[in-house]
Amino acid sequence: MDYYSFRFDTEASNIPILLAFLGEQPFDAFEENEDHLMAYIPTSLYEENLLDYIKELNQRFDFSMTQTHIPSKNWNAIWEAGFEPVVIDDFCRVRASFHAPSSNFPYEILIDPQMAFGTGHHATTTLCIQMMRDLDIAGKTVFDYGCGTGILAILADKMGAKEILAIDIDPASVENTIQNIGLNGGNSFSVKEGDLDIAGKNQYEIIIANINRNVLLERIPALNKQMKLEGFLILSGFLIEDEEKMLDRCKSSGFKLIQQASRGKWLCMVMQKEKEVAPIA
C-alpha cells in the first residue's frame, strides 16, 4: 500500500499539540522528533480536505509542511531473508523457498511472506495449524477468512480439502497468497480480495479466521451464515483475556465450543455450528 508522509517542522512545544489535532484525521501513525513531527496516511484514505484542515491548523500554529509519496515496498525483507523454518509438532514444517526441503514431516509448506501475515512463527498461526491437525479436512470445503500469506489455506489443500476460498481485505495479502499457492501447487483454490460479502451465499464445512478480537466479535454472527450445520470454525488472533467475550458471542451466534488451546498470551478456539442464527444487520 502506498503512503503519504507529512513532515511538520515546528518548535518543540507545538509537536504534541499538532499530534493531537492530526490524530483526529485518518493518519495511521506518527513519529515525534525534536524539531519535527512525521505523520503517515495511506494514499487510499487521503482526501483533499485534509490539506484544508492542515492550512487551518497552520493559521494557529507556526510550522512548515512537506508532503512525500512513499511507494509500497517490502519493509520486511531483512527479517524475511534470515527467517528460520518453523516446525509445528511433528506435523508440519514451514520454510521459505531458500531453505532446503525436508521429508521428515507429513506436510511441508513454502512461504515467502513479504508483507503478509502468517509464517507459523506467530503463536496464532501455530495454534490454527495445531487445531487443523485435529480436524478431518479431507474432502471438505474450507473458507480461510483473512488469509494473509495463505499458509492455512495451503495446509488445508495439502490435507485434502475439496474446495478452498481464501479472502483478505489487504491487496498485498491476496497477491502474496497467490504467489505462495504458486510455490506449493494445488488447484482447489479461489482467492479474492474483500470482506465476507464476496463469499456470497456459499456455506463451508470448515472456516478458519485468524484476525483480531474486534473483527471476529463483529463477524461471528455472519460467519454462522457462511457455515454448514455441524461445520467447524477455528478462531484465532485474540488474547486469553478476551475468552469470555468470544465465548459469549459464539454461543449467542449458534456455535458451541469444541476445543481451545493457548500459547503465550494467545488463545485459539474451535467452535461447531449447532443451529442457524440470523446475522445482526
Binding site: W75, N212, G237
Partner: protein, 149 residues
C-alpha cells in the same frame, strides 16, 4: 544471560491500526524485526483503544527479538478527547470553542505523571492546563489550590 539491547524505537500508533507500512515498517524492518509479528501483537493488545493515538516504545534486541510498552494517550490527545472537540478551535486565546475542567487536568496529570517533568500533581496540572491553553481550550473553574486558600 540477559539479551543485548540493539536499540529503542518510539512511535505513536493508533490502537488496532498498526500495519507494516511507514513508519512501523521501515523503523522495525531496518533492524531486521519481524514487522508482522509486532503488528499482530500491538493490534491485539489495543483492541479496546481502537483508533486512539498511543505512544509505543519498542526495545529491539541484537537477536532481532523485541518487546514493547504501550503508554496511555499523550496529554494533548486526552485533552482533545475531554473537550470532545471534533475539530480544533480557531485562534488560541481569542476563539476558544472547547473547554476542560481542572478535574480533567488533574486526571490527565495523574495518568501522565511518569512522563511529565513535574514534582507534584499540582505542578503537573499546571503543565496540562498550559498545554490546554496552547491548544485553544479554556480551563474552566478554579484550581483546587486557590479554593483551599
Amino acid at each position: 544471560m540477559a539479551k543485548e539491547v540493539g536499540g529503542f524505537i518510539k512511535l505513536q500508533v493508533k490502537g488496532g491500526q498498526a500495519n507494516p507500512a511507514p513508519p512501523v515498517g521501515p523503523a522495525l524492518g531496518a533492524k531486521g524485526v519481524n514487522i508482522m509479528e509486532f503488528c499482530k501483537r500491538f493490534n491485539a493488545e489495543t483492541q479496546d483503544k481502537q483508533g486512539k493515538v498511543l505512544p509505543v516504545i519498542i526495545t529491539v534486541f541484537t537477536d532481532k527479538s523485541f518487546t514493547f510498552i504501550i503508554k496511555t494517550p499523550p496529554a494533548a490527545v486526552q485533552l482533545l478527547e475531554k473537550a470532545k472537540l471534533k475539530k480544533g478551535s480557531g485562534v488560541p486565546n481569542r476563539d476558544k470553542v472547547g473547554s476542560v475542567t481542572w478535574d480533567d487536568c488533574k486526571a490527565i496529570a495523574e495518568d501522565k505523571m511518569a512522563d511529565l517533568n513535574a514534582f507534584s500533581v499540582e505542578s503537573g496540572m499546571k503543565m496540562i492546563a498550559g498545554t490546554a491553553r496552547s491548544m485553544g481550550l479554556l480551563v474552566k473553574g478554579t484550581p483546587p489550590w486557590e479554593t483551599n486558600e
